[in-house]
């Protein structure tokens, strides 16, 4: 049974993507493109960046989602004390998704196109910054609008910087299968953090996040998916960059602790090592390990013998439940390699390859959810940046 109209909720929206964009705007000096300035003052140069993402995931016996995403980012300093940033992203999504657990039969196929834009403004002061931003994302069944506002303050020597941000978004969901109509979702995000320069070669940052979501939080394209209408999330993110004088390379380490009111707890460890070579080449291997517990209302693929899948044993109609693989307990690992080359004065190209695998028995601190097929993904990213 193939449901053309149905589609997986995954790629409907870019909340974290937009969240990162907002973060990019909320956190000063976040530029990361070639020739960018340090956090405490406006960037010296403007830049334009073109990127292309090619994503594919699958499980044994089923090719799942394919995504192609061209994107453009522009950054421009203004009058030495302002920075304006804008992006345009176009996701072309197609493929199939299980309607419950990792069941191949009945997987819904879909194709969709999502366009997202965002703009942000940062004002630089001698000892701090203020920023504001707006983001919009639109596709056939999901519209989202978000605003963010934040600021930072540094000590006189600029070795310690505190920052805070707030974000608000309003989403409207109109799934093509019409299980709901004009459903709303509201999100409030708060963040507090501190950056500390420890040595000439070390910088650390700690960020605390608190998010409250209210409204329609279920996945309308999955069977028996009925989630609570509220979710609070807390995160603690610790990051450290260390430059090795011997090799001239830089290690970038991060750890994130995540917990939410759906009883999910997750740990994320990530590491990358940036190694410059002569002639403008840079090679960056990366690794990431992730583990999560299951949501309290996630149910395993133990189906009722009378009703059959996806109905679980002892199911009470109308109760809170979900067969979504993303809410199960599992561990996941990513290995990646990025190669960059400065090709002309102020132009840099980059190529990144990542391989991702998700398995229930890779879970740490507990057992993984049984009965789910592993998930594999392959990611390619191409980019070119020009600064002026």
């Amino acid at each position: 049974m193939q449901l053309k109209a149905g589609r997986d909720g995954d790629d409907r929206n870019d909340s974290a993507g937009r969240a990162i964009l907002m973060a990019a705007l909320a956190l000063p000096g976040l530029i990361g493109v070639a020739g960018a300035a340090h956090a405490d003052s406006a960037p010296e140069q403007g830049s334009i960046s073109l990127n292309y993402l090619d994503y594919r995931d699958w499980q044994p016996g089923l090719d799942r989602i394919k995504v192609h995403t061209p994107a453009i980012d522009v950054l421009a300093p203004v009058a030495g004390v302002w920075a304006v940033q804008a992006s345009l992203v176009s996701d072309i999504i197609s493929g199939a998704s299980p309607r419950y657990h990792t069941a191949i039969s009945g997987a819904s196929s879909m194709s969709d196109h999502r366009v997202a834009e965002d703009v942000g403004l940062t004002r630089y002061f001698p000892q701090g910054t203020i920023n504001a931003g707006f983001a919009h994302s639109g596709e056939n069944d999901y519209q989202s609008r978000a605003f963010s506002f934040g600021g930072s303050l540094s000590t006189e020597d600029k070795n310690t910087t505190g920052h805070a941000g707030i974000g608000v978004s309003n989403d409207t969901i109109n799934p093509v299968n019409q299980v709901v109509n004009d459903a709303k979702k509201h999100t409030l995000e708060l963040m507090l953090g501190v950056t500390q320069i420890l040595t000439q070669n070390d910088i650390v940052q700690a960020d605390l996040g608190h998010v409250i979501e209210q409204g329609y939080l279920s996945d309308p394209y999955k069977f028996l998916d009925n989630r609570p209408d509220e979710r609070s999330r807390n995160t603690l993110l610790l990051r450290w960059n260390h430059h090795f004088e011997g090799s001239d390379g830089t290690g970038r380490f991060s750890y994130r602790y995540y917990t939410d009111t759906w009883e999910i707890r997750a740990h994320t460890f990530a590491f990358e090592y940036v190694q410059p070579f002569s002639q403008g080449w840079t090679v960056t291997p990366s690794a990431r390990y992730y583990t999560q517990s299951a949501a309290s209302f996630y149910f395993d693929p133990d189906y009722d013998p009378n009703y059959g899948p996806p109905v679980p044993l002892g199911y009470v109609f109308g109760s809170v439940s979900s067969p979504d693989q993303r809410l199960s307990a599992f561990g996941a690992a990513t290995l990646g390699l990025k190669v960059e080359k400065a090709v002309a004065r102020d132009v840099q190209i980059s190529f990144k390859f990542e391989q991702y695998e998700q398995r229930c028995d890779w879970r740490l601190f507990g057992s993984g959810s049984p009965g789910l097929a592993p998930l594999y993904a392959r990611v390619l990213q191409l980019g070119i940046v020009k600064t002026w």
């Binding site: 909720g9 790629d11 929206n13 870019d14 909340s15 974290a16 937009r18 990162i20 964009l21 973060a23 990019a24 000096g29 976040l30 530029i31 990361g32 493109v33 960018a36 960046s49 990127n51 993402l53 995931d57 980012d73 992006s87 931003g133 989202s144 609008r145 978000a146 605003f147 963010s148 070795n159 707030i166 974000g167 978004s169 309003n170 999100t187 995000e189 708060l190 000439q200 070669n201 910088i203 940052q205 960020d207 996040g209 996945d219 999330r233 807390n234 995160t235 603690l236 990051r239 430059h243 994130r256 602790y257 995540y258 939410d260 993303r326 980059s350 991702y356 998700q358 990611v379 990213q381």
Partner: protein, 73 residues
């Protein structure tokens, strides 16, 4: 509970270690000015990676604020 302990630890480390060694002077920030030493990564790459992970895992965010709700659930 764990978050509070971790926060105290993070602040303690940041505060104490930042002071127990000589504070870094303005002219010593050449290495820190390199793009790979920026705590945030390159925006397009970070956006792509974060979008993929929030679409396939339950945890989301941590580095940012303000993005919309998650259609990713």
């Amino acid at each position: 509970m764990h978050v509070r302990a971790a926060l105290i630890a993070a602040l303690a480390v940041a505060g104490v270690s930042g002071c127990s060694v000589e504070a870094v002077k303005p002219w010593q920030k050449g290495t820190l000015a390199r793009s790979e030493m920026n705590i945030e990564g390159a925006k397009p790459e970070t956006r792509f990676d974060e979008h993929i992970y929030t679409s396939r895992e339950a945890a989301a965010g941590g580095a940012s604020v303000g993005g919309g709700g998650c259609g990713c659930n």
